[in-house]
């Protein structure tokens, strides 16, 4: 595993934040340090964990911070920012994302968070996924209901067509009917 440390923008704490710190007396540093850990050997279609460790310069963990993970994705000629997921740092300052790279090449994972002054900060880590000939699509098993298959469909269609055939036989019966005289019903029509 390789670890990449980023120093976020220097002015994290604004005037309000400083006032709050002085009131509560919390020993928070003026800088947030984000360590992003990504796997050494990522592979297409293989789940991996991207971990971000938030702490102050004095190595004090920053807990309960909302973090989102993003990636710039290009598809069909259009590039857009895609949110991969979100997490909240635990008491040790860790936030993690389970990530599944779908394409080969270099991926830039952005970790975004908002700290104290309300401004959004961004830390970036990159990982390179080697190209393979692996097929990513796997059909799911689905729900297999016994008897619900092509034969049921064929049986249904066959029954309907058999009934239609019986209608055709009735027409043949009309053509070969006996020579008994026609019935004298109101709607009867026939030659004399």
């Amino acid at each position: 595993m390789k670890s990449i440390a980023f120093k976020a923008a220097a002015a994290v704490l604004g005037a309000v934040g400083i006032a709050a710190l002085s009131l509560t007396g919390t020993a928070r540093a003026a800088h947030v340090v984000v360590d992003i850990t990504v796997p050494d050997q990522p592979a297409i279609g293989q789940l991996m964990e991207v971990q971000a460790h938030f702490h102050s310069e004095s190595n004090e963990a920053i807990a309960d911070m909302a973090v989102t993970f993003h990636e710039e994705v290009t598809f069909g000629g259009v590039t857009s920012d895609v949110e991969l997921g979100g997490a909240v740092t635990d008491e040790d300052g860790f936030a993690a994302l389970t990530y599944d790279p779908r394409t080969a090449g270099t991926h830039e994972i952005h970790v975004r968070y908002t700290y104290a002054d309300g401004e959004e900060e961004d830390a970036v880590a990159s990982l390179t996924v080697p190209a393979t000939g692996q097929q990513l699509y796997r059909s799911t098993a689905g729900v297999k209901i016994p008897g619900l298959n092509v034969w049921l469909l064929m049986a249904l269609v066959a029954i309907v067509w058999a009934i239609l055939l019986s209608v055709a036989f009735r027409v043949i019966a009309i053509a070969h009917a006996d020579e008994l005289p026609p019935v004298g019903r109101a709607g009867s029509i026939g030659s004399s």
Binding site: G76, I174, V183, G184, A186, G187, G190, S191
Partner: protein, 456 residues
Amino acid sequence: MEEVTSPWRDRLEETALAPVTGTSRAYYAWVAFLLVVIAWGVYAYSRQLQDGLVVTGMRDRISWGLYITTFVFFIGISHAGTLISAILRVSQARWRTPITRMAEFITLVSLICGALFVIIDLGRPDRVLNVIRYGRWQSPIVWDVLAITTYITASTAYLFLPMIPDLALFRDKLAGRVSGWRMWLYRVLSVRWRGTHSQWQSMGAAMTTAMILIIPIAVSVHTVVSWIFAMTLREPWNSTIFGAFFVAGAIFSGVAMLIIVMAILRKVYHLEEYITEKHFVYLGYLLGTFSLIMVYGNVSEYLTTGYKMSEGTEFHFRQLFLGEFAGFYWFYLLGGLVLPGLLILLPLTRNIWGVVAASVLVVAAMWVERYFIVVAGFRVPLMPYEPSTYAPTWVEISVVAAGFALFALLITLFVKIFPIMAVWEVAEDEPTTEPEPAVARLPNGAAPEPAGGAGG
């Protein structure tokens, strides 16, 4: 044979024979006009065959347009006939007798026209065989092909069976009055009908089987057509009621088309004695009922999906209610569902003209509904890209116009060759006393007797 005859019966037979024996100049002019429209459509289609689907407005993101809209519309119209006719026969509604034949004509003709549009939409018509060569039974397209071919076969049988005695009438009464090929046709199709007891028995049994069978087939056809949409991963088509909604819409538009065709044929072939205001009002009631069902379907569909309002639904609702398709949607809802309902509800407009006006609105609105279901459904982006647009080209408009002209032409030719009414069925309702013409009409606002209960 000793034929049952009376002045009323003679008049009925002459009325049924009249379209076959006499041809006016207006008829030729009408046929010529339809042929010109069809010829133009064939030319447009030849351009499509030559250059490919690029001559249409369809592209990769919106890959279905006017053709599939018209296909769904015609399949819906096909419910006019067989389903309505079968339901009325099963429920023994005697008032149905003068209109069932027209309804059955509409079914067959609209199925032919509808099926053509699927092939036209392919671009490469020879690839229609791929459904058979490479089709998978899990595909709704394969179910659709099975359902429609079964429905065409069953509808042909259902049209043909009750026509046999009338074809025999034509064979007997038109000898020497029509051309040789027609006599040959009547002779072959009347399958040696002489009206014997066993022939009536065979025909009765066949008709009973066919009319019971055809109802589930008809329902299955439009259900499967709806599943082509509902089983595709598109936000606007994620619906559990699509099947029922499509079947209701099909009967709705089918009844409306039947009323329009009835009104035209009644006027052209002077069928006022047999197709009375009662028939229009009864079918109007059916239309009104289905307009309420359609309104309910819309509320149920859009309220539930809108309540959850996923991202795609929001986009779809904006384009449907406020954006690109708002004009279409509000015309469909207000002009095609609410206004026809009011026209039938109000005693002042509950007459032939009111019902026909309502039907014209319904037919137009149901085509529009198919259009925005198809095109607006495709327009919702699946990926973060700009939504595409679709505008039909002259080729598509010409081909669709030719499709409607073909529909009208086939109806025109059918009534020119085959009996326009089920004479033997109408004859069973022969009145004991000759009614004055005015008696056959209902006074304004008068409610007719309950459907199915009276008359026979």
